[in-house]
Assembly symmetry: C2
Homo-oligomer: 297 residues x 2
């Protein structure tokens, strides 16, 4: 760390989430080096003073804490262990903070590789979506050795409203996948309750009002229920991305011999949403799948 208390930070993956997240780190005064496959996306941050590197290795050569925010397990593997990847230039003591949502066992494997170089990995996936990314109100679920987590914490604090250290490397991903199980299965219950109300001729808005304060209450019911009733299927969080996360859930469940019938069911129903061209709609478009199971209105 420099005498100013600022860390030299790297950021890789400047998508709809990564772009504003990197901006918060820069705004907090940390010298920032960025890399993105599509170089054009680095322009805004470069104008604000960020250095643009030509590869992940170029970021690793300049940074103590390197944040990655990409899509899936193979993307993170490529950034860390691929050609011109972080491993080629990582500095001893550096911490890679992977904020993507990927397989827990991939994080464990990459952490082992980084440790051979004297570095370490913290997995720190988020919930809160692009709104949370823009407003720095993400919920961050972190896994990793305590020293590495503490080194990364000031950077995480620039992006998140709540930061929970869940355990060793991979634990952040496990907590995030629990989050996705809860979100998806709860949403399926909401969709079935709305379909049942409609089939039985009661006003679903009145139903929500009657039950949402009690034991039936959930974020999904109070927030996505009204959007479904208003025919608003904009994301929020896209079906395609939820399917990626539910695939990670079912793969990790398979590895640990956990049988999750409701999670598997909701994954199949989201597959039907994708089959009907709803992949880029918000997860609440699951309601259309449930409606198609029922007698047409």
């Amino acid at each position: 760390m420099s005498s100013s208390g600022k860390l030299r930070v790297g950021f890789i993956g400047l998508g709809i989430m990564g772009q504003p997240m990197a901006g918060h780190i820069l705004a907090a005064g940390h010298p920032l080096t960025v890399f993105n496959r599509t170089r054009a996306r680095t322009a805004g941050l470069a104008e604000r003073g960020a250095t643009v590197a030509d590869s992940p290795a170029g970021v690793a050569a300049r940074a103590e804490v390197i944040v990655t925010m990409v899509t899936d397990s193979p993307d993170v593997e490529q950034v860390v262990a691929g050609a011109d990847g972080l491993l080629e230039a990582i500095r001893p003591g550096a911490v890679v903070v992977d904020m993507s949502t990927i397989a827990p066992e991939v994080e464990r494997r990459l952490d082992a590789r980084l440790r051979e170089r004297g570095a370490a990995l913290v997995d720190a996936p988020v919930s809160g979506g692009d709104v949370g990314a823009r407003n720095a109100t993400l919920a961050i679920m972190a896994g990793g050795e305590t020293a590495a987590f503490e080194k990364a914490r000031p950077i995480l604090e620039t992006m998140g409203a709540s930061i929970t250290h869940c355990g060793p490397v991979g634990s952040g991903q496990v907590a995030k996948l629990c989050n996705q199980i809860l979100v998806s299965v709860t949403l399926l219950g909401v969709c079935e309750a709305l379909a049942f109300a409609r089939a039985n001729g009661i006003d679903p808005k009145t139903m929500i009002r009657a039950v949402e304060k009690g034991a039936a209450g959930s974020w999904q019911l109070s927030n996505l229920g009204p959007r479904i009733l208003n025919g608003d299927f904009d994301p929020g969080f896209m079906v395609d991305l939820m399917q990626k996360d539910l695939r990670l859930v079912l793969e990790a469940a398979g590895l640990t011999h956990a049988a999750l019938p409701a999670s598997a069911l909701v994954q199949q129903l989201f597959a039907s949403a994708q089959a009907h061209g709803q992949g880029r709609e918000g997860t609440q478009s699951l309601a259309k799948v449930v409606d198609r199971l029922c007698r047409p209105a």
Copy 2:
């Protein structure tokens, strides 16, 4: 209504819910006539001034508003239309308020029978359990013609903290069954998330803390999650009663051609709980069923 603004009220079904509910009506100063199949359960209310009748008909002869709180559809049919039932002595203008959870179409059928006698039915099932019954904090979901509902409202207000008029006769039951869909499916998501956390070696308490404030949040997660982790399977609300309600859901869904795969799944998993002798435990004992699906700890 008498000149004091008090209604002559009847109450049938003095179980764990009905007993305190009838007590609230009496405490509000309404002259009360009660009937219970097991007569011993009338003793406490009789001491406090209630009249004890020998049959539902004996209640009907003395009351303007008659509350029924029994278990299932056949019980309500027996009380209203059976031998010595309400129909044999119901007074014109009287309102029967059925607070049991039963099939919506049975309420509609009984309402038609009562209307032939100049009376009417309001279905008004509740959520909030025995604690809500004792504390007069029930959530009441009502269905019925507005005039009948308004006549019953002052009596409902002695028992409930929230009263929602959901539509015509049967609508209260439909809303209550929506409540049970939401409660059950959300709980199944909670059980799967806890099993996934355990299988992947993270502390489920930490997981709950990390996710409960966001889109994964629900009453079930924050209230029953910790009870599951503490090994507390006391009811709350019993598995056997939830199975009765889920049977009503699936029967009503069948009549209206609504296909509800998650509701059907959770009904099957609660059947497994019953098969393992957990019928009189709280619904949160669904977690044991999900754990038995997974690799033993």
